[in-house]
Symmetry: C2
Subunit: 361 residues, 2 copies
C-alpha cells in the first residue's frame, strides 16, 4: 500500500492506494466518528462492491443508496434524493457519507455532505481510474446544470481517500483510458519527468499492469496534492488543474452529459490547449504531435464533434466558470510541465485551434 | 446611522442600521467587486423596493429575480430557479447576489451564493425585523426539506448587511411582532439588561417608534455578532442562538411551513424552553410568567397547536439538527441572560412541558 497526505492544516487527510483496500475497513472506518453512515454508490458499482463496504460498517447504523449511473444524472434532482434518504433514515450532523464509485458518485456525495445540515463528514472510495487520480482528491464537489458543468457545488474536503486498485479490473476499457487522460494532465501541467515516464510505460499502462498503474495513481495524486495544498479554493494556481477542461466542458455540455466521458473530453481539450499554445509560439509544434500520438495510443479521442463550430464552442466556453468578466481564461503551456493561466490568447487563434480540431480529420 | 462589525478575520463585515439606507448605494455598492449583480427578492417586496435598489446598480449588468413569498417556497426547487437565472444571464464567479427581503429571501440567496460556481459574493438587504435582527447576520444559509427545516445549506458570510429601518413601515404587524420574538431571544440568552430594556420599552416597540426600534436592532445584532465571532460554524457556543428553535421548528414543520411565522414558533418555543428550565429547577417559575406576559403584550402566540401531542413533538424534534446520536440537545436557561446547551433534560419533563403548552389554555 502507498500512502500520501493532502496537507491542508486541520483539514489534512490521507490517500491510501493499493490492492484489496476496500476489504481493509481499518483504513477508513476510524474516520467515521458518529454512529451513522450512508454509502452512496451507482447501479453499476453496487453489485460489485457494496456488500464489501457494508460489511466493514458493522455495528453502525449503516444505510446505502444506489444512484443511476452516469454524468447525465449528476443533477440537483438526484442530489435531492440523497437528502430524502438522509432525512428518512434520520441521519444527524455526526453522520458520515461514503462515496463508492466514480467521479459522478464522488462529486454528488461530496456536495450532499457539504450541504446536509450545513456540512457533515465524507469519505471517498473511488472505483474508477479517473476518480482515483483526480476527482476524489482536493474537495471539489458539484452537480451539473443544463447550461453548464459543475456549476452548483462546494469546496468540501473528504476525511480520507481509499483507492482500491483491484476495482480497476472491472472497469470498461473506455473508462480506464478516460482516466489516463487525467494522468497525462499531471505530467503536462507540472511534471515533465512523469510525462516522459507515462510515454515510456504506455504499453504497461494500456495493459493495466498493477504496479505500473499504482505508480501512475500515486504520482498523479502527489502532483494534485501539491497544487491543492497551495491553493485549496482555486484563487490562483489551482486553476492549472483545468488544463483541457474549458474546451472539454464545452464538448461535454454541448453533446449532452454522458455521450463523451469526462476524461475523453479532457483529452481532446488538452490537445487543443497545446495546439493553441503552439500557435501562440509558446510551445514547439512537435509537442502537439507528441501528445496526439500518446492519446491515440490509449484510444482517446483527438477531435471535437464535427457539429461544434468555433461559434458554438465560444458560446459554451463563455458560460464556463473559467470566464471572468468576459475574458476567456485558459490554461496553456509554456513548455511540458509548465502550465500557466492566461487571458492573453487572441480570439482568432482560439478559432483557428477549434477549426483545426473538428472531426473529420 | 449605526454601524457595527462582525469580527471574523478575513470574512469580517459591517452591519449598517438606519433610515433610508437603501437609497444610499454608496454603503453597499463598494462591496460589489465584479461587473455583474443579481438582486433576489420576493413578490411582496419587489413592488416596494426593487426599483430603489436597481437604481443603485447603474453601470453594472444588473439582473433581478422575484421569488414567490413565504417559507413554503424556501425549497431546492426554488433555489434551482435562481441557478437558471444566473446561468441564462451568464453570471460568472465574480458576480454578487443581493438578498432584498426577509429571512426566506436571505437564506435562499445566501445558499445560492454559497453554491453557485462553488461560491460567489452576496450582500444582505433585509426588509423585515426578523431578518434585520437575526437571519441576515452570521452566514447561516439554507433551504427547507419536507422532513425538516433548514436541512440543506451552508455557512457563507455576506460582504455586508444593510438594514434600512424605513422598510419596517410596510411590514404587516404580525411580521413585526414575529421579529420581536428574536429580539427578546437575545435578552434571554445573554443580555439580562437588554431584556429589562425590552420590557421597559414594550409599548414604544409595539408602536414601532423609530429610535427605539433602531436601538433594539443594534443591540440584537451586537449580541449576535459576539456569539457568531466566537463560534462561526456552530461547533459549540453558537448553539445558544437556537433558544426556542427546537420546539419551534417542530411546530413549523408539523403545521406546514408558512402557517406559523418563524418568529411566532420561536416565541412559543422559547416559552416552552423557559418552562422546562423551571421544571428542572434551573429558573424561577416567575420568569416563565414574566416571558409569557411580554410575548402576549406583543401579540405573540404562547401555546403550541392542540393537535401536537408530546409524541408528535418528539418525533419532529428527533429529526432536528440539534439531535446528535439520539440525544435531545436543548438550549435552556440557568437564569435570564444565562443560556446553556444541554442534553440533561429528562424526557418526562419535556413531555410535561409540551402537555402544559398545548392549546387551548
Amino acid at each position: 500500500m502507498r500512502t500520501l497526505d493532502v496537507d491542508l492544516g486541520e483539514r489534512s487527510y490521507p490517500i491510501h492506494i493499493g490492492a484489496g483496500l476496500l476489504r481493509q475497513p481499518e483504513l477508513w472506518r476510524p474516520h467515521i466518528r458518529g454512529h451513522q453512515a450512508l454509502v452512496v454508490t451507482s447501479s453499476v458499482v453496487a453489485p460489485l462492491y457494496l456488500d464489501t463496504v457494508m460489511a466493514g460498517l458493522e455495528g453502525l447504523q449503516a444505510d446505502s443508496v444506489v444512484l443511476p449511473d452516469g454524468e447525465a444524472h449528476k443533477t440537483l434532482e438526484q442530489l435531492s434524493t440523497l437528502f430524502d434518504h438522509l432525512l428518512e433514515r434520520r441521519h444527524n450532523r455526526t453522520t458520515t457519507l461514503l462515496a463508492l464509485g466514480g467521479g459522478v458518485v464522488g462529486d454528488m456525495t461530496g456536495f450532499a455532505a457539504a450541504a446536509y445540515q450545513r456540512g457533515v463528514a465524507f469519505i471517498q472510495l473511488p472505483t474508477t481510474l479517473l476518480a482515483q487520480v483526480d476527482s476524489s482528491v482536493g474537495g471539489k464537489t458539484a452537480v451539473n446544470h443544463a447550461l453548464g458543468k459543475n456549476m452548483i457545488g462546494a469546496f468540501h474536503q473528504p476525511r480520507c481517500v481509499v483507492a482500491d486498485t483491484d476495482t480497476l479490473s472491472t472497469l470498461p476499457p473506455r473508462e480506464f483510458a478516460a482516466g489516463l487522460a487525467e494522468v497525462i494532465k499531471y505530467g503536462l501541467i507540472g511534471d515533465a519527468a512523469f510525462y516522459d515516464w507515462i510515454e515510456a510505460h504506455c504499453k504497461a499502462l494500456s495493459d493495466q499492469r498493477p504496479e505500473v498503474v499504482a505508480e501512475a495513481i500515486e504520482r498523479s495524486c502527489h502532483n494534485k496534492a501539491i497544487v491543492v495544498a497551495s491553493d485549496e479554493r482555486e484563487a490562483g494556481r489551482r486553476a492549472v488543474l483545468n488544463l483541457g477542461h474549458t474546451f472539454g466542458h464545452a464538448i461535454e455540455t454541448d453533446t449532452g452529459y454522458g455521450e463523451w466521458l469526462h476524461g475523453e473530453a479532457v483529452a481532446t481539450g488538452m490537445l487543443m490547449a497545446l495546439d493553441l499554445s503552439a500557435r501562440m509560439g509558446w510551445l514547439a509544434a512537435a509537442e502537439v504531435a507528441r501528445l496526439r500520438r500518446l492519446l491515440e495510443a490509449f484510444g482517446l479521442p483527438v477531435r471535437a464533434p464535427e457539429h461544434m463550430t468555433a461559434e458554438r464552442f465560444l458560446e459554451r466556453m463563455a458560460l464556463d466558470k473559467k470566464v471572468v468578466d468576459g475574458q476567456l481564461r485558459l490554461v496553456l503551456l509554456q513548455g511540458i510541465g509548465e502550465a500557466v493561466l492566461t487571458t492573453e490568447a487572441p480570439l482568432d487563434l482560439v478559432r483557428a485551434t477549434i477549426a483545426a480540431h473538428r472531426a473529420p480529420a
